[in-house]
């Protein structure tokens, strides 16, 4: 449980990096081997593994090794917290602005009558 909270703490930090965002996006389409994930990036494998490590520590992804191949996949549960919050923020703004549409229409109407 404690582990989970600590992991949640750094999700946003993990997603602040473009390489890590790209990895998460790719994994959104399904699990992939590290070698495949690393291919689009012009960086040495050890550097790339650091990014994978951060994503794993954060709990955004998990990896398993079978033979010599390490495969990564998304931990959708943790990713959801960020997306859910952003969805709520979007919904708040959308709703309040619809209220404002109504208010502006009424105020404009009052204006026309005077």
């Amino acid at each position: 449980m404690d582990n989970n909270c600590a992991a949640l703490d750094s999700i946003f930090h993990a997603l602040a990096d473009p390489t890590r965002r790209a990895v998460v996006q790719r994994l959104g389409r399904g699990p992939a081997a590290v070698s495949e994930l690393a291919r689009p990036f012009a960086m040495a494998l050890p550097s790339f593994m650091k990014h994978v490590g951060i994503l794993e520590e954060t709990g955004l992804i998990r990896s398993t090794k079978v033979g010599r191949i390490r495969t990564c996949e998304l931990e959708r549960k943790n990713l959801k917290a960020v997306e859910l919050w952003l969805g709520q923020q979007r919904a708040i703004w959308q709703s309040r602005y619809e209220n404002l549409d109504g208010l502006l229409a009424r105020l404009n109407g009052e204006d026309d009558e005077t």
């Binding site: 750094s10 946003f12 602040a16 952003l86 709520q88 919904a91 703004w93 209220n99």
Partner: protein, 167 residues
């Protein structure tokens, strides 16, 4: 909302920033008034089904707006917006934050900076709000808070509305 009114919600995770852009079918002065006068703010600011109740409003640099968003059951969520710079009727910058009924800001919780700009476009007004957190850690705290407090569950119903509104 009229279908042709622009609404953009842009998330820049790398810069801890959310940008909200919305067009309104009204003149800039009126849209400005609705953002800066307490009696008008009380008529729109809280998302449905909540209502807005202003306790204190002093719209000047160094002043603040202290308000509650109230659920139909009567539960209040207190917020405070501290005005930093004001440039009528082009825009203002302010610090957002959670507080209590007395207006005391909880120092444990992050404050986001709001940069709000009003631009005229023919008979319409475009309002651009940039919500900026100072660090990824602050964003995470806001997320934890947002998902924990009761406001989140009240607003869950809004998520259900989203698909129809986006169409």
């Amino acid at each position: 909302m009229k279908p042709d009114l622009q609404f953009d919600f842009l998330v820049d995770k790398a810069r801890n920033r959310i940008t909200v852009k919305r067009e309104f079918a009204a003149k800039r002065q009126l849209v400005w008034d609705c953002h800066t006068k307490r009696e008008l703010l009380d008529r729109w600011f809280a998302p449905k089904p909540l209502t807005t109740r202003t306790k204190h409003m002093e719209f000047r640099e160094g002043g603040y707006w202290h308000y509650a968003m109230v659920t139909p059951e009567g539960q209040s969520f207190w917020n405070r917006l501290d005005y930093q710079t004001i440039d009528p009727i082009d825009g203002y910058a302010a610090l957002d934050g959670f507080c209590d009924e007395a207006g005391v800001v909880n120092p444990e919780l992050p404050r986001a900076r709001w940069d709000v700009a009003f631009t005229a476009a023919q008979e319409r007004t475009l309002v651009t709000t940039v919500v900026l957190y100072s660090s990824p850690q602050d964003v995470q705290k806001a997320i934890d808070m947002g998902l924990k407090d009761g406001l989140a569950s009240t607003l869950d119903r809004l998520d259900e509305l989203l698909p129809s509104l986006q169409a």
